[in-house]
Symmetry: C2
Subunit: 210 residues, 2 copies
Amino acid sequence: MEKNDRLAERNRGFFRAKKLLVLNVVSSPGSGKTTFIRETAAKLGAKLRVGVIVGDLATDNDAAKLRTAGIPVVQITTGTVCHLDAEMVSKAAAQLDLDKLDVLVIENVGNLVCPAEYDLGEDLRVVLLSTTEGEDKPLKYPPMFHSANVAVVTKSDLASAAGFDREQALANLRRVSHHAEVFELSAKTGEGMAAWVDFLTKQRGAVNGK
Amino acid sequence: MEKNDRLAERNRGFFRAKKLLVLNVVSSPGSGKTTFIRETAAKLGAKLRVGVIVGDLATDNDAAKLRTAGIPVVQITTGTVCHLDAEMVSKAAAQLDLDKLDVLVIENVGNLVCPAEYDLGEDLRVVLLSTTEGEDKPLKYPPMFHSANVAVVTKSDLASAAGFDREQALANLRRVSHHAEVFELSAKTGEGMAAWVDFLTKQRGAVNGK
């Protein structure tokens, strides 16, 4: 763990020198990470170029989906390991042409527990909470939600069908992720994506100024 | 791990002597484990008495929900540990009046990775896949889906809103969980619960005959 923390800081320094804004996107399986990342890249368009590192136990389905959308992507297959670590990210990043990117998105393994303890060298840890998972998740997985800089409520288009209690969810997020920026959106319909993309653009500006 | 496997077999022997059918219910966070267990207990009613051991990193929300429904329940709070183990289950089971139960349901921590490697001494490992998570989960989390004896597709009432590809999901389950019994249901609406409850009743009969 100590070793991972050191390698993560090395990644952080490397990414800073490359003027990359780096996101570590974490969530339960099926919260919509891949669609969220694909639509974020599409909305940023030519303004900010996005590359992705995808972690999965098995399959390169997500990587294939992103590649089809024209996004440079590297797949990490972890086998039985429940999280990415800084060394995996460092090796995967070497396979991307980082000088042609502005934003590097790391799609972590779908897991609300293990990735919480592994710094990857990101600028922002972004935790997704889909409306279909229920509003209690921040309280039940506090290490992950507490460690996040940004919390994104996804699948807002399904909130009503799923009986999602929005007020309770936001209250739970305020309680556990009190320092986090919160966004609510549907990557599928595009609702709420503009505010998120504006935020990212500003964040990238801040990194670029360093 | 070796130690866990031995303790799990001790649990298995103990539960068998008590003529209990023991289920280890695993899934992503938010797949509907608690509602599924509560409705299963309600449908089994007075015919088969159900007790529950609930694992969570934090909070006793799920235990409280089950207790409110009149179900005997013991909470295990794991802190940062991403799975239950055989020793935790053994200690928790000692807090239940097992002679008054026919079915013991262990609700594992919401995680599609870590619990796969930990035998708890269950008769059946039951993996839940909610329609809102997407049909690709069996391919992306093969150790868990492969280790399951039963796969339950939950939240069938949301399938259409979520754009769930049922045929693809069943094909993926057949590929990874080829030996597993598959059920499709909505604990919320009750659709499909009868077949699942019939199956459980037969399984408990088989355990009782041993």
